[in-house]
Amino acid sequence: MADAKALLAAWSTRSGGEAEAWARARPGPSVEAIATRISRVPQAFLDERVSLVALAGDILGAPLSAAAFEEDARVRRGAAVGLWLVASEGLVEPFAPAIAGAWTALAVDALALRLAPVVDPAQWLSDDERRVEAARTFLLWCGFVPLGEDRRTARSLLEACDSLARNRALAKAYEGHRHRADIARKLEEARRKEAAARYSSE
């Protein structure tokens, strides 16, 4: 399994910057539509025996940066979910508006290299919150603002459910609690010493 930092570094090189992504975003499908489609990903797409390079070639007709990390199961599954979203427009029905375009491969890479290292794609299927995060991430890097939202709202809502930021904040909170526990132990020791120092004035 590849190191999450290496995957995120690869994404950093590939993405071209989040500010630019927001700047080019235009009204797109709703978050619910994408999230619902994610939850319907066929097992065949998630099958580890299917080559990611071949799948991307068939669906996008172009290579994915994520293909370099195909041996990582999370990356493979993340990319497969993204490819399913693209393929589903032909297999199920097109989104309104259609998502196929110049940024589609980047959106698939976003799921594989930006989100999958932080949240296992299995959780996208089992947890509503994580599925919404995957849908919002895909829409942003595909060049869309979700239906009914402006850029500010969409950006704020993606930040609110961003697992990477959440994990960093929790790690900080963990450290705070650990520090507090250390001081609490010191306080107990100080209380014991104070109790031992008490004397009788009789």
Binding site: E149, A181, A184
Partner: protein
């Protein structure tokens, strides 16, 4: 809540339509709401009470230009009926969970007000989240966005953090709504939370060392140094905040999603995350301002009844340890964590003192009885004694001659007919039966229980080992089918309790937990009168006396009461067992008790009570 409120007015057709729309959303039926225009000036603009009833002030909404959201306000109040708290007992349990969390995070805080505030916030969060989901489903066809949802519109009018508010808990609350309702950051509260309040500095006025007697000066100097170090570390701990509103808002939102259908269990999680905020306010000597319209619409302030108290305290969810703060490091299970510096002795259940504080509006005797009964419950076993053995027949014995005059039913025809001729008294036979070993039998116990409630005993309000042991004992005897007579005594003439043996646990525990708090004088006159002229004990008639007391029980043996000096010994002759359960570290009573024929069991703390009762059970069983 109905004191001095504006009069209720009939429902208009528009109001009724709004009410019916709200009922349809939750798919429930409920009596018509009370409409009280202008009620918001007296408190909340709407509230829910038990038995389920909704009251709303429509003028409040009209003034805010939200008349069309009257149905959402109805739906919110109905959510308290359908979802959280749902029932009055669950409402009390949620408040109890919050009080437990506060007892750990803010031991010095009045649990009632804080617990109610957190309870209202938690139930509102659950209701509003579910309501937004329902309204989103209802409006899916119209494609309305989140801010168009009725409850969100109401929230935007009611909840935003007021300008200049320093209430970090309210900021967290609003941020949680932003996360749950999918609102952009900054909609209900500022991007950044208010700064942490500065903890109040503990000051101590010290006498100059020169005024301390010289022989104590060095000890005093060391003590002051230890105190200063303790204060320094305490200040460091107070500065190491346990609160992080942006992170905690995420954790609360996760708790809401996880416990949407189990408000009582989720309340513990919510309490653990939010109680440190109230502790922070208490530590800084401030109070949370809440939102523009207060902090909730739960208006049911009727005190818990005795039955409700019993149900609350017996609920295992109230007895289990509180969950860890979800923000605490997962690998620090061995550390003392947040709770170590403040966790009350005896775990995370509410102590009797805090339970009384929380239920201060309820009858104190009922609270005490419910608390001791719950504490005793785990140790209650059926106490019985061995009954007189009854011979059991059934083993076939030798064959005997059946003679005329014997019962015809005893005639054994197969044996008789073997001779071929029936000649009564000659060829007739009967089969006899021999006794088998007697079957062991158990029967119930009658226990005469005396409990010392003099000032030297621990008051039941402070966790009395004697009352706990008495409760375990009495309930165990009742469980075995027996009867108990409980008598509380203190000084001369201070005797109360039951006149006769009974099986009503309420009456018995009330007698056990009764407290005079005066001098100690065992009621020997009453004791003598109760056992005067009774026939001696036998296998059928057994009498058991247990006295719970301390070293003051020397009065039972006539010390300071010479005219009755021989009563305890003479009564003992008419008893099967006489046992003294004593908190007497110096064993002052032991010799007197032994002379008079009484067994002694010692008791020191609450934790000793179950073991003492186990010893008593053996003594009573015989």
């Amino acid at each position: 809540m109905t004191h001095d409120l504006p009069a209720s007015v009939p429902l208009t057709p528009e109001t009724r339509a709004a009410w019916e729309r709200a009922l349809a959303l939750w798919r429930v039926q409920l009596n018509d709401p009370e409409i009280r225009p202008g009620a918001a000036a007296h408190g909340a603009p709407a509230w829910f009470t038990f038995p389920p009833a909704v009251t709303v002030d429509p003028v409040f909404l009209a003034e805010k230009g939200l008349s069309d959201e009257l149905w959402s306000m109805f739906a919110h109040e109905l959510g308290h009926h359908v979802l959280a708290p749902g029932t009055r007992i669950d409402s009390l349990k949620i408040t109890h969970q919050m009080a437990r969390a506060l007892a750990v995070a803010a031991p010095g805080m009045d649990p009632e007000a804080g617990a109610r505030r957190l309870s209202n916030m938690w139930t509102d969060l659950l209701v509003n989240t579910r309501l937004a989901q329902l309204q989103r489903t209802e409006t899916a066809a119209t494609g309305a966005n989140t801010t168009g949802l009725g409850i969100v519109r109401l929230g935007l009018a009611l909840y935003p953090v007021p300008d200049g508010s320093q209430d970090r808990l309210w900021w967290l609350y609003c941020r949680t709504y932003e996360l749950l309702w999918q609102l952009p950051t900054g909609t209900l509260c500022a991007q950044e939370p208010p700064p942490r309040p500065q903890p109040a500095i503990e000051d101590e006025v010290l006498v100059p060392l020169a005024q301390i007697p010289e022989r104590h000066r060095e000890s005093e100097r060391l003590l002051r140094a230890a105190k200063a170090e303790r204060r320094r570390v305490a200040a460091e701990l107070a500065g190491a905040t346990a609160t992080d509103p942006p992170v905690d808002a995420v954790l609360v939102a996760e708790a809401v999603r996880s416990f949407l259908n189990d408000p009582v269990s989720g309340a513990a999680q919510f309490g653990v995350i939010t109680a440190p905020y109230l502790a922070e306010q208490t530590g800084a000597g401030t109070r949370g301002e809440g939102g523009p319209q207060g902090t909730g619409c739960g208006a049911d302030d009727a005190p818990a009844t005795a039955e409700e108290l019993g149900r609350i305290l017996a609920d295992q969810r109230m007895r289990a340890d509180l969950p860890r703060h979800p923000g605490a490091a997962p690998d620090s299970t061995e550390d003392t964590g947040d709770t170590a510096e403040s966790e009350p002795a005896g775990g995370q259940r509410l102590t009797i003192a805090r339970t009384l504080e929380l239920y201060r509006d309820s009858d104190e005797d009922a609270v005490l009885a419910a608390w001791y009964r719950t504490e005793a419950a785990a140790w209650v076993r059926p106490y019985t004694r061995t009954a007189p053995a009854v011979p059991a027949g059934g083993i076939p014995g030798p064959v005997e001659l059946w003679e005329t005059g014997d019962a015809l039913a005893d005639l054994d025809w197969p044996l008789t007919m073997r001779s071929g001729v029936v000649i009564p008294g000659v060829t007739t036979r009967r089969r006899t039966e021999l006794d088998d070993d007697p079957l062991p039998q158990e029967t119930s116990i009658e226990l005469d229980l005396y409990i010392d409630s003099s000032g030297s005993m621990v008051h039941p309000r402070n966790g009395s080992p004697a009352v706990l042991a008495g409760t375990i004992l009495a309930l165990s005897v009742l469980r075995g089918g027996g009867r108990v007579r409980a008598t509380s005594f203190s000084g001369t003439g201070e005797v109360a309790g039951m006149d006769r043996f009974g099986r009503d646990p309420k009456e018995i525990i009330a007698a056990i937990s009764l407290f005079f708090g005066r001098s100690t004088s065992f009621p020997l006159d009453l004791y003598a009168a109760r056992y005067a002229g009774l026939p001696p004990v036998s296998d059928d008639v057994q009498r058991h006396v247990v006295v719970l007391s301390d070293d003051g029980l020397v009065s039972m043996f006539g010390v300071g009461n010479d005219p009755f000096a021989g009563v305890a010994r003479s009564v003992r002759d008419s008893l099967t067992t006489g046992t003294l359960v004593l908190m007497d570290t110096r064993h002052r009573v032991a010799e007197l008790a032994e002379e008079a024929g009484y067994q002694v069991v010692y008791l020191r703390t609450m934790a000793d009570a179950p073991a003492a009762c186990a010893t008593l059970a053996e003594a009573l069983h015989g």
